[in-house]
């Protein structure tokens, strides 16, 4: 469990994080989202003791991370997959990290195996593709068998097989009772991987809720209706529904229940070939939830 309590971080005049309080619970994958400049990275840097909080703080399983004797056993972090010396082999990189925390040497072989890098472990990290570096970064995060995993954009550069693997791994780690914190801008991937979301904007908490509730709560329910009757749209509008025509002839209906659409269609003697609820995608919901917190919005 990672608890953030009243965290504030200022850089001179700029407020990067502004009184943020939230808790990342174990046993689930929590998506940590926010537009650029929202304060996600700063929050993670403070959690890892890389930067000092101006006020408030972060506790990892009740402990202050910076004072831990064997910190990699508490939090495993992937901040930047490129942060590996290009001339050092993957195995040497992991061995040095393991030695700094007095972790047993066998952990190096175990994590290399878990991320599928065993065969290239002796190669210089500079020869790795971004996807391989991500795997190496994930291996480093797993070294201490930590209760908390803090992963910043871990799937950038992974190929489709790699993305599916990473998704499975994160679900598995959460299933083992760990706190998995996943920061990413890839909304479609987040929708498939996360159970819970913490969304921040301009350094403040926007929402802390389950993925399902976030998708339901913010999106207007819409029905996709496909029918052969040209009069149906007018009849629906007459019943108080909002109807939009789609280019392929289908109708997007909101403001009425599905059963009402069915009744009106029956009255109009229209044959319905499709009637399905449409949920907004995480991307849509995220954009509307954070619209006021976007720092670098382009002209629309």
């Amino acid at each position: 469990m990672l608890e953030i309590q009243g965290l504030t971080k200022r850089y001179g005049e700029t407020v990067a994080v502004d009184g943020l309080t939230c808790t990342f619970e174990p046993g689930r994958v929590t998506g940590f989202l926010g537009p650029n400049g929202a304060g996600k990275t700063t929050t993670m840097l403070v959690a890892l003791g890389l930067q000092r909080a101006t006020a408030g703080g972060v506790r990892a399983n009740g402990l202050d991370f910076a004072g831990c004797r064997s910190p990699m056993r508490e939090i495993g972090a992937l901040l930047d997959a490129q942060a590996v010396h290009p001339n050092r082999s993957a195995r040497a990189h992991l061995s040095a990290l393991a030695a700094s925390n007095r972790l047993p040497r066998r952990r190096v072989a175990e994590v290399l195996d878990r991320v599928g890098l065993t065969e290239v472990a002796g190669r210089r990290a500079g020869t790795f593709s971004l996807g391989m570096k991500q795997r190496l970064g994930i291996a480093a995060a797993l070294l201490g068998d930590p209760g908390i995993l803090l992963l910043d954009e871990p799937i950038n550069g992974l190929d489709p097989t790699g993305i599916a693997w990473a998704r499975g791994l994160m679900r598995e780690l959460a299933g083992e009772g760990r706190t998995v914190i996943l920061s990413s801008h890839l909304m479609s991937e987040m929708e498939l991987t996360a159970d819970h979301l913490v969304v921040i904007g301009r350094g403040r908490l926007i929402t802390d809720t389950s993925l399902a509730a976030f998708l339901d709560g913010a999106a207007p329910a819409e029905l996709l209706v496909r029918a052969d009757a040209p009069g149906l749209a007018a009849a629906l509008r007459a019943a108080g529904a909002t109807v939009r025509d789609r280019a392929d002839g289908a109708l997007l209906v909101s403001g009425v229940e599905a059963v009402t659409v069915g009744r009106i269609a029956l009255a109009e003697r229209a044959v319905i070939s499709e009637l399905s609820p449409r949920r907004g995608s995480l991307e849509d919901v995220f954009m509307s939830a954070t619209a006021s917190a976007v720092e670098f919005g382009g002209a629309r």
């Binding site: 840097l45 890389l50 939090i75 901040l79 942060a83 040095a96 925390n101």
Partner: protein, 244 residues
Amino acid sequence: MIRSEWIKLRSLRSPAWCLIALLAVNVLFGWMIATAQARQWDGVAAWDPVRASLSGVIVTQIAAAVFGVLAFTTETIRSSLAAMPRRSRLLAAKTLVVAVAVLLAGLVAALLAFLAGQAAIAARGVPHAGLTDPGAARAIAGAGLYLTAVALIGMAAGVLTRSTAAAVTGVIAGGLLVPVFASAMPEALARFVVGWWPTAAGLRILATTPDRDMLDPWPGFAVLAGTTVVLMVAAFVTFRRRDT
């Protein structure tokens, strides 16, 4: 922690090459300077064959400084600190590994330079020194200590500037160029630089003949060692406090 730093150093080729270059250049310059000075000696002026053969460190201190700078600036500091947030321990382990590596390489380099230089001097029929002569062993050990101090100053500069280019430029300008250009300075300043500038004073550890205008060997080296300590303390304090 120390083992971690040792793995980091050992797993790269450049630090090893840096130390091999230090060794080779030190022997080569020791031999060259000893040969040149033996040829020029008029048989009357004060003659210090030990110092002549060890003067290669004036050149090889660049390799030692670069070694120290790179030990810190090539570190992916966020990853390392995310794994080990106790910063003083990390820097202390690095300091120890750098110091031991440079000291060992420096001692070997000094011993070989001494032997090569004395052989060159003897070949010219000029008085030369043996390992057991007074001050010779101290001067050889001193050359190793001198290179170690310069490496640590390099590392402190790396910590303070967080930039390879700035740290290397700073250390070379401060350590090498300031004493070289002393003769172009106003007299009072030149006298201070020649006698008391840390790298100039530190080189007195190589001398085996007294010089009334200069500090004695150990007091001279103490000036360099003191400067090293001050810079390292500044590095530790800065490193502990700053955001990375």
